[in-house]
Amino acid sequence: MATAPSDMHLARSPSPPVDAKAVARLVRQSLARREVQLVVVTLLVFAITTAHDSGFATTGNISFLIADTMAVAIVAIGETIVVLTRGIDLSVAPILGTAALATGFLAQNHGLTPLELLPLALVIGAVMGAGNGVLVAFAGIPPIIATLGTLAVYSGVQGIIANGQEVVTLPPSYFNLGNDDWFSAIPYVGVIGLAVALGFALILWRTRFGRNVYAVGNNAEAARRAGIDVKRVLVIAYVLSGTLAGLGGLVFLAHVGSADSTTGTDSNIQLTAIAATLIGGSTLTGGKGGTIGSYLAAIFLSVALAALVDFRINPIWEPAGVGVLILVAMLADTTTGRPTLRSILTALLERPGGRP
């Protein structure tokens, strides 16, 4: 889509040398897009690891790596919407956990199917997300603090719902949903995640609400003066983030097959989701990024961390890998106008001792 103007330019170019330049520019422009970078790097990691160990490239492994990260990916898509408004949502972990736990109990004790429980998971997420939205938009509490508070509150709610019990035995339909594939290669949940990512990408790009999200994130005051109902946009953003965390809970439940009072918070899933959002090209300063980047980043993280294990690197280094990738992703972003490693080195070399 973004490459269309360059294609036209390519077609109209009169002489071969210009063509080469245009092609080079097209490649450069594409490579500056985070989504393209993620696909390239993921394939690269994949190729290198496969060269090292041919067992890595089996369809079973690929589909597992995708299915394994889908709960994070779906949560990260919701997180992205909030981050686009220049906010942050730390409370997605207990929302995911509460949804997984509540639906899990009903599935375990009453045998309800995933489809029957989908509305419940979404409603739990939406209600909790609405709580965040009201605190941020109407009480005026800074997002990081409001969701820090609700992180504790919703964790408590999850504990109350658990009441010392846990979900351990689910109907087989859950395992099938969370772990089976189409054509034994494409995981069901991976398709669900992709549909969510594409759907919200369309909403963000093509609807008034989506444009308002970017406007609020770029400059809330300007958006307000332009007649945008900033509070409404914020509330909807947090409701969506909560709803997707609820969906993530159901996906998590189906994939993992169990849930307890600390599901979600015990693995700090909110931080992994934020990491995927940032690696996916969204910035904490708002107004920049998108859901497809976050989806791809979640898959990239899954593949990269699995590759580490494949190279016999102790899994205790996985968090460090995530941390390094966050930093690298930010430093590799050349579109923000902030100094990059290269520009700083250049400045230091040109003016020894001088401040860049």
Binding site: I88, L135, A139, G140, I141, P142, I144, I145, A146, L148, G149, T150, L151, A152, V153, S155, G156, V157, Q158, G159, I160, N219, A220, E221, S261, T262, L271, I274, A275, L278, T283, L284, T285, G286, N314, I316, W317, E318, P319, A320, G321, V322, G323, V324, I326, L327, M330, L331, G337, R338, P339, T340, L341, I344, P356
Partner: protein
């Protein structure tokens, strides 16, 4: 001119003071309630003092994060930093280094990491939330890698008798060290040129730059202090529990930030008072302890803490909006104005 300055100073003080009065009232009410209503809380007064052992490590961490938040930044790595310092100290000790020297080296390493974090934030102009989130992940891995599954425990008496069960008279070491560090923080933030620069740049970074403040270096120093205090908290934890764990500090991060914000420090920086952080430490700490003694689960205790945070901030912001008109909107505007390329 001086009258106006005096007036604005008085108003500024009164703004912070009403919040601290509210915290003090809350603390007294809470202590009274738990002393009367919960068996085993009062303990003749000294029992109450002893309970503070279990939360003042969070208070020390909160004082440290406070520096960073005053400057309008945030430090998500301090929980992992505390675990990391505890593990490094224990491992150095196991390898034959005198325990206090080991503690000193570990805390110095923490300060060095704080310096690196601050440099990354300021040189590359990255958000502190992002950099410290990354270093939280990295420090967590490092702590696990260095400590292994069974990090050393059972520290020598010379260490635990001071950093664990020591103290001055009936006052436990945790209170003594918290008091000393609180006093140091107070002096640094409210009585030095560094503190004035810190609060000014938190309030308005451009104004601080025009006023000749070395903005990057001041921010870097805040990160060093945060890491240093987190490291000291890690040593205190090791002494209190006579053991270390690679994830011991993780659970303290969010309570520490809660304390700073409950203490009235503006999360956007530029406003607040160290005394508020000290008060909030006791408010939240005794709240957790009282609930835990009343046999409430940890999850529920945290939930009550979260509710207190949300209600307190909602009240604070609505009262301030009524008092100061568009104060919050103005701060938001400043915040957003800062986002442009500078």
């Amino acid at each position: 001119m001086t009258a106006a300055a005096g007036l604005s100073r008085a108003r500024h003080l009164s703004r912070d003071q009403w919040w601290m009065t509210a915290l003090a009232v809350l603390l007294v009410a809470e202590l009274a309630y738990f002393s009367v209503g919960v068996q085993g809380f009062w303990g003749g007064g000294t029992g109450m003092l002893d309970q503070s052992e279990y939360f003042l490590d969070i208070g020390v961490m909160a004082l440290g994060v406070g520096f960073v938040i005053f400057a309008g930044d945030i430090d998500l790595s301090c929980g992992a930093m505390a675990s990391f310092v505890g593990i490094v100290m224990a491992e150095l000790w196991k390898h034959g280094i005198e325990i206090w020297i080991a503690a000193l080296i570990a805390v110095a390493i923490a300060a060095l990491i704080g310096l690196i974090q601050g440099l990354i934030v300021t040189v590359f102009r990255l958000e502190s939330l992002l950099v410290t989130l990354a270093s939280q992940f990295i420090l967590g891995s490092l702590a696990t890698a260095i400590g292994g599954g069974y990090p050393p425990y059972g520290f020598p008496h010379s260490f635990t008798s001071i950093a664990g069960t020591g103290g001055i008279g009936p006052v436990p070491i945790q209170i003594v060290s918290f008091a000393v560090l609180g006093w140091i923080s107070f002096l640094l933030v409210h009585r030095t040129a560094f503190g004035r620069s810190l609060v000014l740049l938190g309030h308005n970074r451009d104004a601080a730059r025009y006023a000749g403040v070395n903005v990057p270096w001041t921010r870097v120093r805040a990160f060093i202090l945060s890491a240093l205090f987190a490291g000291l908290a890690g040593v205190l934890i090791a002494g209190t529990y006579n053991s270390v764990r690679d994830d011991l500090g993780d659970a303290l991060l969010l309570p520490a930030i809660t304390i700073v914000v409950l203490g009235g420090v503006d999360i956007f920086g530029g406003r607040g008072h160290v005394a508020g952080v000290v008060f909030a430490t006791f408010v939240l700490g005794f709240l957790y302890q009282g609930l835990l003694i009343a046999n409430v689960s940890q999850l529920t205790a945290n939930m009550v803490g979260g509710i207190v945070l949300v209600i307190a901030l909602t009240l604070k912001i609505s009262i301030e909006q009524r008092q100061g008109g568009a104060a919050f909107a103005e701060r938001l505007r400043l915040r957003f104005a800062r986002s442009g390329p500078s």
